[in-house]
C-alpha cells in the first residue's frame, strides 16, 4: 500500500517537473524570439509563417553598429570593388544592399549608458553606505521619521518630479548632460540603497567595532576597516540593484537628453533603419542592451527578494 502511494507520488512529481520546464520554456518564448530575430538574414525576417530555423547571420549586429545608405540603382559596386570590401561591408551589401557610411549611434549611446550608470552607482553606494552606517549605529532624533522620509521619495510617481526637474535642469544648463542624469539617478537610487544597506549593516555584530574603538580606532577607521569589509556582500548586491535601475531607466532619459548624453533606452525604440522597419537591427540592439542586466540577475539571484522589497524580507 505504502509503496503504491509512493510510486504515485513520484509519478506526479515527474509530471509536475516536466510541466514546470514546459511553462518556463513557453514563458521565455518572447525573449527567445527576439534573440532568434537578431540573427535572422535580411530576406527571411519578413517571411510568413515566421521562420524559426535558418542560417544565422550577424548582419543585424553590423547594421545596429553602423549608419548606412542604399546604393543608387545605377551605381552598384563592381565585383572587383566587392572583393576589396571589408568583411562587414561585404556582409551588409549582400544582406541588404546597403553601403556603410560611418559608425552608427549605438556605441556612443551604449557608452553614455555605461558612464551614467556606473558613475551614479558609485556615487549612490558611497553616499548610501555612509548614511546607512549613520542610521544603523548612531542615536538620531526622529530616526524612524527620517527613514520613512527617505523611503517616501522613492514612492513618488516620476512624472510629478519630472516637470520641475525639467525646469531646474534647463535653468542650470543640465539638460542633455551626463552629470545631470548621474545626479538624478543617484537621488532616485539613494532611498533604496540606504534602506537595503541599513539592513545589511544591522546584521553585523557591533562588538567588533566596540573592541576596535577600545583599541583606539577612530570612528572613521572603524567604518573603513571593519564595517565596509564585512558589509561587502551587501554593498555589492545593492550596487548591482542600483545598476539595473539606472541602466533600465527610460522616462527621465527620454525627456532630459537629446544626443550628447542620450542613453540606450531613450534611443533604441526610435531606430528602425532607413528601409522601413529594420527588426533585425532593433532586435540586435535589444539583445546587446539587456545582456548586462541578465548577467547581473543571475549573480543577484540569492538577494533578489531582499532587493525588491527594500530589505523588508531577508531570506
Amino acid at each position: 500500500m505504502a509503496s503504491v502511494n509512493k510510486r504515485r507520488v513520484s509519478v506526479w512529481r515527474i509530471i509536475v517537473i516536466i510541466l514546470i520546464c514546459i511553462i518556463t520554456f513557453v514563458y521565455l518564448v518572447p525573449l527567445l524570439f527576439v534573440i532568434d530575430t537578431s540573427f535572422k538574414p535580411w530576406n527571411t525576417i519578413k517571411d510568413w509563417p515566421p521562420k524559426i530555423i535558418f542560417k544565422p547571420t550577424i548582419a543585424p549586429y553590423v547594421r545596429i553598429f553602423t549608419a548606412r545608405t542604399v546604393y543608387p540603382p545605377n551605381d552598384k559596386p563592381t565585383a572587383e570593388e566587392i572583393a576589396k570590401m571589408k568583411w562587414y561591408e561585404r556582409l551588409t551589401y549582400k544582406e541588404s544592399g546597403e553601403q556603410i557610411v560611418r559608425i552608427g549611434d549605438l556605441p556612443r549611446r551604449y557608452l553614455n549608458s555605461l558612464i551614467i550608470t556606473l558613475a551614479s552607482v558609485a556615487l549612490t553606494i558611497i553616499m548610501a553606505t555612509f548614511a546607512a552606517y549613520g542610521f544603523s549605529r548612531f542615536k538620531i532624533r526622529g530616526k524612524d521619521d527620517l527613514m520613512f522620509f527617505i523611503l517616501s521619495t522613492r514612492m513618488l510617481p516620476p512624472v510629478i518630479v519630472l516637470i520641475p526637474v525639467f525646469l531646474m535642469f534647463r535653468k542650470l544648463a543640465l539638460t542633455d548632460t551626463h552629470i545631470g542624469l548621474i545626479l538624478l539617478y543617484t537621488a532616485f537610487n539613494l532611498s533604496f540603497a540606504v534602506w537595503v544597506l541599513k539592513g545589511f549593516i544591522d546584521e553585523i555584530p557591533i562588538e567588533y567595532e566596540e573592541a576596535a574603538m577600545v583599541d583606539g580606532y577612530t570612528r572613521f577607521q572603524v567604518f573603513r576597516k571593519i564595517v565596509v569589509p564585512q558589509a561587502m556582500t551587501g554593498i555589492a548586491a545593492t550596487a548591482v540593484f542600483c545598476f539595473i535601475f539606472a541602466w533600465n531607466e527610460y522616462a527621465f532619459a527620454f525627456i532630459l537628453t537629446k544626443t550628447i548624453a542620450q542613453t540606450v533606452p531613450a534611443w533604441l525604440p526610435y531606430q528602425m533603419g532607413v528601409l522601413g522597419y529594420d527588426w533585425g537591427a532593433a532586435a540586435a540592439g535589444s539583445v546587446l542592451f539587456i545582456i548586462p542586466a541578465l548577467i547581473f540577475t543571475v549573480l543577484l539571484r540569492k538577494n533578489l527578494v531582499r532587493g525588491i522589497t527594500f530589505g523588508a524580507i531577508r531570506k
Binding site: 549605529r137 525646469l167 531646474m168 557591533i206 525604440p269 535589444s286 525588491i308 522589497t309
Partner: protein
C-alpha cells in the same frame, strides 16, 4: 549605539561621542540634502505650478504671463470627460495586469514548491524578464506582436491582429507585456512567503487527514497572504504609473492606449500646458496614495 560606548565614561570616549555628532552629520547630510534638492523641492515646485497657467515652452505662449489660478486647473480636469475616460482605461489596465500577475505569479510559486534538481535554474530563468528595461521589453513585444512577421499571432493562430496600434487591442497588448514582465516579481514574493510556512503545520494537518483544499485554504493562503498583499501594493502603484512599456509598444499619440500617464506626458511635454500637467500629476499622486492606504489597512489586518 554610541550611547552604549558612553557608558564606560572615560574622557576619551566622551570626546569621541562629541566627535560622533560631527561624523554623523557628515555621514547622513549629503544623502538628505540630495534627496531634498532632487525629490522634495520639485514636489513643492510642482504643487505651485499646478495652481498656475505656467508653460515651460519657449517662447511662452499658453497663458502668456503665468499667473495664479487657484484650483481652476483641478476643476477643469475633474470636469473633463476625456480624463475620466482615461482614468477608467487606466483602472482597467491596472486590474487586468495586476490581476494576471497575481494569479500567474502565485500559481508559478505553488508549482515551484516541489524540490528538484535545477529548481534554482528554473527560478532564475523565470525571473529574467523582471530586470530588463521596461521600454526595451515593450520594444521586444512590439516585434513579437507585429501583424506581418511577428510570432505572437502565428503561435496563437489569431490571424493578422495589429496588437500594437489597433485601438481595440493596444491596451491588452501593454497589459500582456506588463504581466510577462512582472509575474516573476509576484512569484518571488510568494515563494518567500511559502518558504516561511512552518512545516509542522502541514504535518499536524496530515495527522488529522486534512484534505488538500483544507490545507491550502487554512494554512498556505493565510500564511502567504501578507506577502501577496505587499506584492499587490507594489504592483498596483507601479501599474498605475505605467509609461515605459506602453511607449515601447505603441508609442504616444494616436496609436497609444488612453492611459493617464501618456496624457500626463502629452500635457506637460507636447502641448506644454505645464500647469495643467502638474495638476494632473497631483491627482494621480493622490489616487495612488489613497489606493495604497486602503491596501496597507488590509495588510495590517491580515498581519494580525
Amino acid at each position: 549605539m554610541a550611547r552604549r560606548s558612553n557608558e564606560n565614561s572615560s574622557t576619551l570616549i566622551q570626546y569621541r561621542a562629541l566627535q560622533d555628532q560631527a561624523i554623523l552629520r557628515m555621514f547622513i547630510l549629503p544623502t538628505i540634502i540630495l534627496l531634498i534638492v532632487i525629490n522634495i523641492f520639485p514636489l513643492f515646485y510642482s504643487l505651485i505650478l499646478s495652481f498656475s497657467n505656467f508653460t515651460a515652452k519657449f517662447p511662452l505662449v499658453w497663458g502668456k504671463n503665468p499667473r495664479f489660478l487657484g484650483i481652476e486647473n483641478y476643476i477643469r480636469l475633474v470636469n473633463d470627460p476625456d480624463i475620466w475616460h482615461r482614468f477608467i482605461t487606466t483602472a482597467k489596465y491596472v486590474v487586468l495586469s495586476v490581476g494576471g500577475e497575481m494569479i500567474l505569479g502565485f500559481a508559478f510559486a505553488l508549482l515551484l514548491q516541489i524540490k528538484f534538481k535545477g529548481r534554482e535554474v528554473i527560478t532564475t530563468l523565470l525571473v529574467l524578464p523582471m530586470t530588463m528595461s521596461p521600454v526595451i521589453v515593450g520594444l521586444m513585444w512590439k516585434l513579437f506582436y507585429d501583424p506581418n512577421w511577428g510570432m505572437f499571432n502565428y503561435l496563437l493562430g489569431l490571424g493578422k491582429i495589429d496588437w500594437a496600434t489597433d485601438l481595440k487591442y493596444n491596451l491588452y497588448a501593454s497589459a500582456i507585456a506588463d504581466i510577462w514582465m512582472w509575474t516573476p516579481f509576484v512569484m518571488l514574493l510568494a515563494l518567500a512567503g511559502l518558504g516561511a510556512v512552518p512545516q509542522y503545520l502541514y504535518e499536524a494537518a496530515e495527522v488529522d487527514r486534512a484534505s488538500w483544499w483544507y490545507k491550502f485554504s487554512r494554512i498556505t493562503l493565510p500564511m502567504v497572504w501578507p506577502l501577496l498583499l505587499i506584492a499587490l501594493i507594489f504592483r498596483t502603484m507601479e501599474a498605475f504609473k505605467v509609461f515605459d512599456v506602453t511607449m515601447g509598444i505603441s508609442g504616444r499619440g494616436a496609436s497609444a492606449p488612453a492611459l493617464l500617464s501618456i496624457s500626463l506626458y502629452d500635457t506637460a511635454f507636447v502641448t506644454w500646458k505645464t500647469g495643467i500637467g502638474s495638476a494632473l500629476g497631483y491627482i494621480v499622486l493622490i489616487i495612488i496614495i489613497a489606493i495604497t492606504n486602503i491596501f496597507v489597512k488590509y495588510l495590517n489586518k491580515a498581519k494580525q
